[in-house]
Symmetry: none
Subunit: 192 residues, 4 copies
DNA sequence: CATGAATGAGCTTTCATTCAT
DNA sequence: TATGAATGAAAGCTCATTCAT
């Protein structure tokens, strides 16, 4: 049991240094040797926990994606009224993207790279199902526009990625007021 | 003295193969040797036209960004009515992102990478000024929400990147009808 | 935990092949790949033992310089009479330069190159101190000319480098008799 | 004629930049492209004047060697008394080595490198003949030690190279007095 | 499970030289 | 004669991964 714990620690340390190095240097220039050094293990040890570099990054991607969606649906229940529910989820996500910047930034780097397997992406998407269900309900109730969930997601949710980027680059900081404005824009874009 | 001159042709071939290789394999695994081979020149020739790999990629980024914005403002004139003008620009951009997929995809890969210098990014942004001016006018006329241009851009424009990605991944194809729906969402998100 | 340790053997093999290649081909045309091949290791292995090429060469320089001075003062003790002591040291050095030709030749190549750091040179010089001390004593005893140690070294010691070169180039071979003549010249140049 | 002159100018510019670059950076890191740039010509132009890099360096070596020996025998005539003659030549050489430091330093770099062809070396040596003749005369007159001219040269002349190095490295500066001391050492080493 | 040494393949970049004008 | 573009070959070095313990 103690050994298992220690192993988990090492695995986490590896994921953490990968996150940090990729964020700071990009997928290129995040070599296994540096990842190992940062996690205080030998390069060879990485291969005990992960098949190869691609696997390491994909596993990290998946873990983050899961923790992201977990947070997205925190306190959410399926019988909340549609707008209230969306509001809750939206602010949850905004919270994640604007506060857990490192994690969110890594995920956004993954959006447009060939490093992530299509399988991981599919798996990552699954966890968003409750949001899609909510929208389906909203459509039936005549509250949400009757359009593809991809469009809904692009406008209502994904726009936050751009705002996170501007914030991370110190171009623009979102305070409470502008966050509310962003929510209003999100809601306007999808509501009927 | 008549000597061989640096050929625009070779430079363009290099930029083109860079685009193609980065798109297919990512910034990692787009080695100079392959870029050279694909452009039918010697590896050493690249360094006549570009300082190094980073420079090559940044120059490509800038050229695409400029051609992108050129297309965005095609047929646009500053005295068009706000909504008409926005509609024109939006469809121009959609056209670019959904038809010139290769170029758009490359640009979206650049959004979240450390390969692009902050200077290049700034330079690339400059060319969007007319859109910001338009929004400013829209605000004065009471048509556009009085919120940060970053938020406006995130919702009205950047959402298209996500839709382009889904399309490129064959998850979802935008036909004329869904494109109009997307425009409606964009417009709803920023109009008062 | 028992793991493979950096082997002195490999390091020595690398230093040896460097010596040999630089001697035969010069600092230019002694590429890392050849050095590795000659030492029967992978090119990458060199970088486990040395930071880079410059470091490799500087370390080799220092090791040889140290072994050179060690031999120079073999059997020397500070309370020998000045002339006897000088004679001992001079013949020690002559022995080294004329018998360990490879090492001496490498060192003489280092005398006039920018490959060797000033720091390494300084470090290398340190070990000659006993000779300088001897000369100081000789001056006090009125045996050695009261002139700068640089001049003393230039005449009494460094002249051997030229003789080594002629020998290495097969222009002139020093037998016992001519060696004694050389010693006489050395001694005459510095004695009062 | 004018064209010939201009050509000579270019050739000299090339030799000069070679001298300067090799002195500052070593034989390694004195690339043809830099040499060309420094001489304000195209890299291709070098190959009009010189066969290849090796030839360029060997020609430079020879020119310097000749100018060196010319200066060595300035004002010398074969019927001067031996000591006076030697004194003249020695100070001529010292003058060259300590004042035309750049040229002397280049030559000393050539002493121990494989870049110089044996043929060039032989050719360079030839010009020293008058000194060897002088020593021969000195031996007959019972003034100079009856030993190999190689030994004589090593002590009487070549020691100056070491002193030049110390001076170039700012370890030791030779003033008039120490120069005279050096001459005394030189003379003592070879006189009977 | 864990390691530091070791590596072949491959990276970016540079070089001496030649080409085409 | 003189050029800047062009290049094949090779340089120094790094990397993901494996080996031996």
């Amino acid at each position: 049991m103690a050994i298992r714990e220690k192993s988990k620690e090492k695995r986490n340390a590896l994921l953490k240094s990968t996150l940090s190095l990729v964020n700071n240097n990009g997928f290129h220039d995040a070599p296994m040797s540096k990842i190992a050094k940062m996690a205080n293990v030998s390069p060879a040890t990485i291969y005990i926990y992960f098949e190869n570099k691609r696997d390491l990054i994909n596993q990290l991607y998946l873990e983050l994606k899961i923790s992201y969606t977990e947070q997205a649906f925190k306190a959410y229940s399926e019988n909340m009224p549609v707008k209230k529910a969306f509001e809750l989820i939206w602010y949850n996500i905004a919270d994640y993207k604007l506060k857990q910047v490192e994690e969110a930034w890594f995920l956004s780097q993954c959006d447009n790279t060939t490093m992530i397997d299509e399988a991981s992406r599919q798996e990552g998407l699954k966890h968003l199902q409750p949001l899609l269900d909510l929208w389906e309900r909203g459509k039936k109730e005549g509250i949400i526009k009757n359009i593809s969930p991809y469009i809904l997601y692009a406008y209502a949710i994904n726009s936050l990625v751009f705002l996170m980027n501007t914030q991370k680059r110190n171009l623009y900081q979102l305070d409470k007021k502008s966050l509310d404005q962003a929510f209003q824009a999100a809601w306007d874009s999808i509501r009927i």
